[in-house]
Symmetry: C2
Subunit: 580 residues, 2 copies
């Protein structure tokens, strides 16, 4: 046979069909024929045949291998698996609970043989069993026999354990699926494992979003005797080392990553997750507005009456041409609905330097303040100036959101704002340690209660706790939080003090405070959201594109039908009400 | 300062205390001062400072890294993480269930900010929150915004999904913690990921033993277009490659590992997990006893009346001197209590070749059959011959157990039987595909319903299913099951047929049978119990010695107090009865 491309000619003499596929598939694997997410997830095994998902999963695998190579081979980290079945601590409403029945009398049935490859449910005795009677015999291996004595001793000791009461076997008990290995990795530092890492599966009982799944993966690490900067340099090196070559997210990022304080991020980007791929920074407009003799403007008067009041603006270049009227109106309602503001003022800059598009625009034209404002903001004709007045925290967070919406709006009309290939990492530091709780009087941790206060601010802990900065650091990329970590509290007295300020129930973490007192090296660490990191590298819109079998946005697996109802017997076993 | 060993002299000019330890610790870390398991586990962070646990965890980390290097760098496997929150299939009584409340209306509260390093429970809104109002704003990142449209589409499609009904949000639903990634890894083969591996956390709702934990780790792998032998060679290479140098389990094992059929293992070792470090093989004694004209012995008559009847013996060298009378008596009661036998006969061989120690011994002396029996078994004066009569399966499993007990008995008196440093791997193959269920009439899988029948036996599926061998293989070491795998069914008709024979509810696995029909390559795989493998390498008696934070034999973590009771509110959220 004459072939253009092939060098090898194969002459078939026979054909054996190893496996057949049905003629009609739910969808054909063609680049022009992408199934909807619902259809794709239902037949995920088919969808995985698409080249982009093949690439994503292989790239994910490659990156995780490189991260292991870097941490373990180059830096001597120890890969330790910590439990996912952990203690439930009070107040957790977004954690999965797991009833544990094996310890209860109701569940006093012999365990099935411990087969390595068994399958959920369907190897249970009621349907089919694993070696039945033999299993007890076979499992009496040498290991079992030789350690039976220590086993008995352990049972006795548990019963006399004074600090942790082992209650009657008929009481139901509950594990909790770990939200992170935080306490365990700190306990590892106390245990002398001075460089720990793990690809940890973490759980949260909440609906899926493009960025969230009920279970997700973290690159989790902790080190003894290091500074925050040393952890940051390590992570930068790790990302450089593991950066894939055929990466949609562009070239290997340059290090070190820039550092931005929390207050600067809030001030300039209106977010602690600044998207630094484009400017359009928030700017203080209060001085310019006051100089512009806008005293007659009601909103400005209102602003001045607030002690925390501010006026903030950002400039959208060429906004006049590209921002639709409906978009600007939706911002106004968003500002009042979600941020408690009176609204925002959108002012388009005419060719003659006058403003239009809002009441504020008209007023500034009238008082002659438009010119001063534009000069201070650096706005030119054709631009749009967005101004908001009100309490500072409301204004900043609202304007941070509008900045992103404005960018998306311009991009939707084809204007270049952000380089989608580019990944802009930034460290955000000096977060506050506490913030007001929902009841207004209590304090809550901005991150978690193990974060070390900033050494310059520790003296304010009792007098002005909201002013205390923490030694927490976030790694942010393109407006997403990719990771977060901190220098931890290693002094039991400081830990007790922080728990006291937070008014957390003392019992839950007493064992941890006790452990800190037994000789704890100073330590720090970080956790990176691995799904999100890989989705950034792949240029994927959702972490579901880098997970083999993700749940849908409802947290369901439509392929297998999970979660599902369970039998009446099983509900009885776990004391769950029927028809609840 | 004059120092014997040091080459470097350090002159301290100051001292800064970074961290203090309390004077009295629960126990001091000294080689001569090992805490009981209960005390050790309660203060695991202290116990981890012992050199042997430091070594075990570091060795575990090193072995897992080498396994990844081998599979991924050398053999091109793709590391894929499969879900642990899976569908519950009917009949599973040893699986953890996980109520999923995020999808129900009762749990309709906004999620907290998605912090990477949060801690179980204690970052919930009721105690302290993560960025409160800001979180909604901040999480509206670019990813969120750009994919909101696909999100909406997904919701719509889910509602119209005909095969999987998405029920009212007020219904409680349940995940199940995966017992293994079995179905997922097969689905990956269907998805074109032709070489998959994963260090998978697996779950079983049962009490801990030295070999078992509620959560444990498997090295899980699957390949397309391979034979059972190719999987076995790959695993042998993996173990050779990853074998640690400073290993208590002796030198790197030689490969290939010997292969033994299930029937040979049962016949010679009375176990499908043969400990091949010592002989003392079970031998058929029926012919010798019959030739010895023992027709008058009641037990032998009884034996002959059973169609499956057998007489089996094994020889304990020097048993006469080292086996205590009480041990032999306990075997007798074990044989009747656990194996439904009339008992076992223990016959010590006198210097003159006559027997003593049991009724059978006296009878054999009388009929003159002792000599023939000893000759056929190869027993010499001073040895002990253990004989059991009865139905074959009962006798073999009982004798397999007694063989191990006899070895432990001799070792306890200081006799060398097994080299504790040695690891003797063996592949056990040709298992039966089915065995009788507990009700006597139904059939159950010996391993799982995805195992391919042996090609020579497939014609017996309908006529004599108990005779059908499977293409399953177990990796056994020193009497422990280290791993198990099989060639899988890839033909949907065969899969449907096997599920039909097992009378499994058709709904649970219909999606899987449907998936098989969409073009499935022939595939095979295996899973190794990683905790157990490492404990063999470390020479540890229990897998708890190679796990950082294990549960105790009750399945509890006495350090943190897990599992624990949960609040009334939480029980309401999950429809769990109060005071159950």
């Amino acid at each position: 046979m004459s072939m253009k491309t092939g060098e090898v000619e194969v002459e078939a003499t026979g054909l054996q069909v190893l496996s057949k596929a049905q003629a009609q598939l739910p969808f054909n694997i063609r680049a022009h024929n992408m199934p909807t997410e619902a259809i794709g997830l239902k037949h995920r095994y088919l969808q995985l045949r698409y080249p982009h998902l093949q690439r994503n999963l292989r790239l994910r695998s490659q990156v995780s291998k490189r991260i292991s190579d870097y941490l373990q081979d180059i830096h001597g980290f120890v890969n330790v698996n910590t439990p996912t079945l952990t203690r439930h601590t009070s107040g957790g409403s977004h954690l999965f609970i797991v009833p544990y029945a094996a310890g209860s009398s109701a569940a006093n049935v012999p365990p099935p043989a411990n087969k390595c490859e068994s399958v959920n449910g369907i190897n249970a005795k009621s349907t089919f069993k694993s070696n039945s009677g033999d299993s007890r015999i076979n499992s009496s291996s040498v290991l079992n026999i030789s350690s039976s004595s220590s086993n008995v001793r352990n049972n006795d000791d548990s019963g006399s354990n004074s600090a942790i009461s082992i209650e009657s076997e008929s009481m139901s008990k509950y594990y909790c699926l770990a939200q992170s290995p935080q306490t365990y990795k700190q306990l590892l530092m106390m245990g002398g494992l001075d460089k720990y890492y793990q690809f940890a599966v973490c759980y949260r009982d909440e609906k899926g979003t493009p960025e969230r799944q009920p279970e997700f993966m973290q690159v989790d690490l902790e080190m003894s005797d290091v500074t925050a900067e040393e952890v940051q340099r390590l992570v930068e090196g790790m990302l450089q080392y593991s950066w894939p070559e055929d990466c949609n997210g562009g070239p290997t990022p340059e290090t070190p990553f820039p550092v931005m304080t929390y207050s600067a991020a809030m001030k300039h980007y209106g977010s602690d997750k600044p998207d630094t791929r484009f400017q359009w920074l928030l700017q203080d407009a209060a001085a310019a507005l006051q100089e512009a003799r806008c005293g007659g403007i009601t909103a400005l008067q209102e602003l001045i009456s607030h002690p925390q009041g501010t006026a903030t603006a950002f400039v959208v270049p060429t906004g006049q041409k590209h921002l639709s009227k409906s978009a600007c109106e939706s911002w106004n309602s968003l500002a009042s609905r979600e941020h408690g503001l009176g609204g925002v003022s959108v002012c388009h800059v005419r060719q003659d330097g006058s403003l239009k598009g809002s009441q504020l625009a008209t007023q500034l034209n009238r008082t002659g303040g438009a010119k001063q404002l534009l000069a201070s903001l650096g706005a030119v004709p054709g631009d749009t100036v967005v101004v908001a007045l009100g309490p500072e925290s409301n204004v900043l967070s609202c304007m941070g959101k509008l900045r992103l919406l404005a960018a998306a709006e311009l991009e939707a009309t084809g204007v270049f704002v952000r380089n989608k290939q580019e990944l802009r990492f930034v460290w955000v530091v000096d977060f506050p340690l506490f913030e007001p709780g929902e009841d207004g009087s209590s304090l809550v941790s901005v991150h978690h209660p193990f974060t070390q206060p900033h050494p310059h601010d520790a003296h304010l802990l009792d007098t002005d706790p909201l002013k205390v900065r923490s030694q927490h650091y976030d790694l942010v990329c393109n407006g997403c939080e990719v990771g977060g970590g901190s220098v931890r509290i290693h002094d039991p007295e400081m830990q007790q003090r922080v728990l006291g300020i937070l008014q957390l129930p003392p019992g839950d973490l007493q064992y941890f405070v006790d452990a800190l007192a037994m000789g704890t090296p100073p330590h720090a660490g970080i956790a990176l959201g691995f799904d999100r990191l890989v989705s950034l590298m792949c240029g994927s819109e959702s972490i579901r594109e880098v997970i083999a079998f993700p749940k849908n946005s409802q947290g369901h697996c439509t392929m297998s039908g999970a979660p599902s109802d369970i039998s009446r017997e099983l509900k009885q076993r776990y004391s769950i009400k029927e028809n609840s």
